[in-house]
Symmetry: D3
Subunit: 298 residues, 6 copies
């Protein structure tokens, strides 16, 4: 007897696992010809966007001022093609969930339009990301130059992904934006929902553990430290006891707010212009303009 | 004189670093023919498990309902072969530390048996992970569909790795389970020890910074937020001043408990059924059923 | 009309993005022939260093006691060559920011000298990392052997990168050290600035969310838990309102200090020898030798 | 002056090379959304076909009799998807040259039909390739087993590619078949045009330098040695002096013919059943049944 | 009706192709745990051998005189491990064909012994390959240095593979040697059977189309040009009409013979010491010492 | 006793193989900092050149008429950088053999100049390759379009590599040109020495086995078939019995010559304008203008 032959166990497992009742709800029934959301392609989309927005810092090529237009031209074209595919993947995914049935060509056509619109927004994205780089530089005595911030600060990585994802979400693309911000979440520990609205000169120091919820509104010149949560306190349930989607439930931070490490701000409260929230505290009510709140002294 | 020739420095460093006294305790003396634990193989094991458990969401192939059995069949076989190798690597590692000496064939035979048993558990793993997906969906107003949760929620990634690792640990496999949960820790910031016991419908929101210790017992329908620690308060030392291994030292959370962000629960305390633990607090004593505890108001 | 032709949008975006005014300050003007900082090369540098420091645990090869010198010899040579390139990349980057103009040969020569010096420090690095492994083992009842700690504890990964980066920073290499510690930050959620000074037998449990600032001084036998911040409280501004660089602004932790999870210690305060800082608290003043401070009971 | 700055030369070259007059006829004007012929995909198609036809010899997996159906199922699905894409690429390429304009959807639909038909032919392909393996084995005293022939004889590689390509050509697929036979030409030095018709039990010994033209007809049990040419002698020109396409111009070899090394047979001649053609000779006339022709003795 | 659904065709093909009667003789029934012959591993074996034999010409590393021993040490160890696996794969393959049944451990043990013996022959292999390099250099006015010959002459590539494969065959390894010479055949068009015996200072100019049969005996200082065949004229059949294996049937070339391009020498004839065989001729009889034979003048 | 321990055999082999006397003449003593000739880089150089010369046929990108300049710009820059490195590698290699000692900077400067000059020749290379494509198309009744010829005819691949290599050789680059033509030799079986001079509208049908020697001169509109050798008959030796380098010793083919398969033309003979050389013959004397020579009839 061959003690290695466990093929009956394997065969039984394959049979059970292939029984369609066992994977109901956990199976993505792929439609022939549709593209699949691909984390590799989305990673590439983010890298290409970074290479376009910050020339010379990302990508393999040794770009110089003579060759910038060539590189941007090729990267934009490549980004456009990848975006069409992934936006179409997102649209197909969305349809499925909506029970809608769109023609494949029409979804491809829509995807091409949205991809082009996204690319049309890149100059604006560069302008606003430049303000985030400035904010990080002037807010950190340990920063030695813009280049250091662009190439290795996790905040810039997370904010870039967020700003890319937010544009895609505004264009109506399902699923894909969330995957893009979760990529940054995994790399940086900073979890910004693509639905949040965030002004210019935004920065996050260190960043691990930061959570910014889907309905947050953040003004200009806001700075957060590591471990800050801008979350929901509770959420109303519908008649079936399920959470009702889409209700504003996260904080509003007005311009010039600073929130120190591990502070938790919950619910649709407003932190007024110029207010400072101290570390390790729990805030569930409005904070007036210019106020400074902190943990009780030990 | 060639100013580049620092070969004497390099040679001296090589000599010192090759001196066996210098790497005592830091060296893995590999036995000829034994497989090595390989993070690449373990990553592949996790990916194959995900592709089997959630068909159509992971893996390169465009699976559809006609081809599900083929894909699961190939993935199960591939998983089986990789598991044999890595379980054997774990067993060899374990022996070494135990000063035991097992025959290589016998370790391979044992590995094959354990790998088959693990695969026999996959249908059950799928059933319980389905409850975790449900819990994540119904607990998050920002979730748009099961697909979004399966493809990008870090909690599902961390809980999947934990449930896979826990099964392997229960089968008696050394080292490998811990490497698998540390992979998820690195990707998600959620650190669940494979030794913990966790019921169905478990979910973690955002998740960065969550720590669940080796002797935790968690009931059904439990929800944790980011930054929650379920840790040990202190641990008894043996006569040599070293910590005694294996003593229950982490919390018990009964069914339907919720713990908010950055709360820290330490020691073998029990949080009673249906209790709610507020954010940013420090708990070192039992909490009664249905209680709601929170930080002092500022 | 072909509804897919959005080439005018793409062309317009390429033109705007290639306009040098739009990328001012965000562009790395690469000098012909200079190496570029490369995260792939730096990742390889870290992996080679690990393979040299902990033989048999990292790297693809099946090293044994007969072949240790061959492997270390080849790895040291490979590390040396990669270091020369990346140190030169860092030096070029530094020059640019300093407005200095160094000859390329001279930067390469300097890089070779620094690379050799770094390699000369590897035996010492191994000695101190061995103490960190010991500290992790004796401090964690869940640890089963040194091998488990070396192969999968995030603290060892983060501390290794920090110790490598710190040596490079001490040698005067710009930029590269920070990229190396940020790699570990991304993988482990532990953010140690390469400028910090840290003694032997240092350990961090779980680790996600730990922040150790640039001017921290940490003694021997210190242990931190997850979520601990050793940060700056505030920093003086110069006449232009920009932060002044290089001023000591982070805590000093003397020997034998323990800091529990999510504690925040800010500013140039001193935590005295043997003191214990409880979890989730906020410390901005000196703590005397041997003191135990904790959050107010709820 | 920087002696390295040759950017004016590069810029001038880019301008000239981008001038559309300079690449007229050498440019493949790609239509948005069409797949491109891809040698990587075609290589994969050939490898998948081999893995299906000769289970256990090709492909990474460790197939056994329990898992054969899973592997063939997955490989067939993967082959089907790649074929659709590459057949569509071929069809688009064909259209372009024909000045035809087919709707993209219709080309994809056609490609799917042709891909399915090709897969329907695989069982027949396996039957005929089995006869080729037999012929190689019984014709070579150096062959030790079928396995050796399947895994490393260049003749089997070249004949497999030819038989795959011939089926695709019969189905009306442009370009792709030729690329597939040229792949085998590059690997083996055996150049079989996909248009040739070749019976069962066909074999080629050594093979380098063999050429079999587009209109050849080869019977059953035919054996060729290395360097044999079955070519065209001359071809009629049209009124513009261009060769007229599609005219039978290559030899017919009836059943049981043997042609020795470096023989050259040119034009629409017939080599009769059972004839033997000696090495290094030049044949431009019919050879009767059973004849043996050879070079003049020196 | 969905015109893309050809799943019935695919399913039918999968069923037919999975029917074990259809792949009888074409299937490699893999035994659980045995290594598979792998062209990737064998390619790596050849590359490692080249890197060891010709230090500095092959392999990624920048070897210099200080680091030669490290590189050779690592390469030898890596070669040893790969050889054990592939020799074992060959032995398993051989057993299967012989109907023998060897214990797996014993095959691994045998493989390790043979791998070690092969490595013990490497110094001798280097000595004889050095004579081949010399012969190529002094025989070709176009050669500019030894380095050019080592790095790009196809003859050296083919002869290296042959000499490696011949050693393995002499050690009794089945299958693997033939795969190694067929690799060189594919790359260079030079087909040397591993069974041939070839003396020192052997060279082949250009080489495409050269065939050297399994029972050839070639002396020292022999030179062949492209397209030369040293083949069998005919071979005796056994009672079943199958070729009898192992009978000497290929030419003997004594020392100092030159054979010009496209000459064909067939059968167990002897070309005497110092003889010259002209191009494009057909030789089936002995040629005396020092003779010069050529094609009839046109 | 452990029957697997053959470390003494391995150690002895390493020692012998590391003894510098054993690898004298077979060792490339690499100078610190010099680039190495790299077949991967050279392959990339050839691919980039093809992508530039034949836009849309090679390379991964989906180039269209709007984006041609971007792609050519990026490819030219990338080609330029790779060429500098590989030309410098060739120059260093050349120096070594010449016993010359050039400063590294100066070799890099020279390499940059030569790389720029090569790129300046690309438009001319495209013009002449266009004539070769034409010649292949009009000379082959089986060719269906220019695209088929560009994408899969081995002649175009071999002639492209030759024309690239010839330019580099004319610029004075050592070694690299020969490696480039040997790459094509390996892929196509066509061996064209980079030193040969070849006119426009050159084509080779099938091609396997063609050899064109270093001092050949070939006019315009010449066509060769497979297996044709244009070689040297013999070469004068110097006083040491070594061949004298650089003497014209290969044939001259004037315009409009056709040479049929397996013909061998040797020595500095002239084949006059418009002559036809039949297959399988051996030519060592001049052939007059317009003559047709052929093998004796059997």
């Amino acid at each position: 007897m061959d003690s290695f032959d466990y093929s009956h166990i394997l065969t039984k497992a394959v049979d059970e696992l292939s029984d369609s009742r066992s994977y109901k709800g956990l199976f993505h029934q792929h439609k022939e010809g549709d593209p699949l959301p691909s984390s590799t392609s989305l990673q590439r989309i983010v890298e290409l966007s970074r290479a376009i927005l910050f020339p010379g810092y990302f990508g393999n090529s040794t770009v110089n001022k003579h060759t910038v237009p060539y590189h941007i031209g090729v990267n934009v074209e490549c980004l456009y093609n990848l975006l069409i595919e992934q936006i179409q993947a997102g649209l197909c995914f969305g349809q499925e969930n909506n029970g809608l049935k769109i023609q494949e060509e029409s979804s491809r056509e829509t995807a091409a339009l949205l991809a082009a619109r996204f690319i049309g927004k890149l100059p604006e994205l560069r302008r606003i990301l430049a303000t985030d780089v400035e904010a990080a530089y002037y807010g950190d005595p340990a920063a030695t130059c813009f280049g250091e911030i662009i190439s290795c600060y996790p905040a810039i990585r997370a904010i870039s992904n967020y700003r890319i994802a937010h544009e895609l979400l505004m264009l109506g693309v399902p699923l894909i934006p969330r995957i893009i911000t979760e990529m940054a979440h995994s790399e940086t520990g900073i979890d910004i929902h693509p639905g949040a609205q965030i002004g210019h000169h935004f920065t996050i120091d260190h960043g691990t553990g930061v959570v910014i919820g889907a309905t947050c509104i953040i003004g200009n010149n806001v700075k957060l430290y590591q471990g800050v949560t801008l979350g929901a306190k509770s959420f109303p349930l519908d008649d079936n006891g399920n959470p009702i989607k889409g209700i504003p439930r996260h904080p509003i931070l007005e311009n010039d707010v600073i929130v120190y490490s591990n502070a938790t701000i919950l619910g649709r409260v407003t932190i007024g212009r110029g207010a400072t929230v101290g570390g390790n505290i729990w805030v569930t009510e409005d904070v007036p303009e210019g106020a400074k709140i902190a943990q009780h002294k030990r």
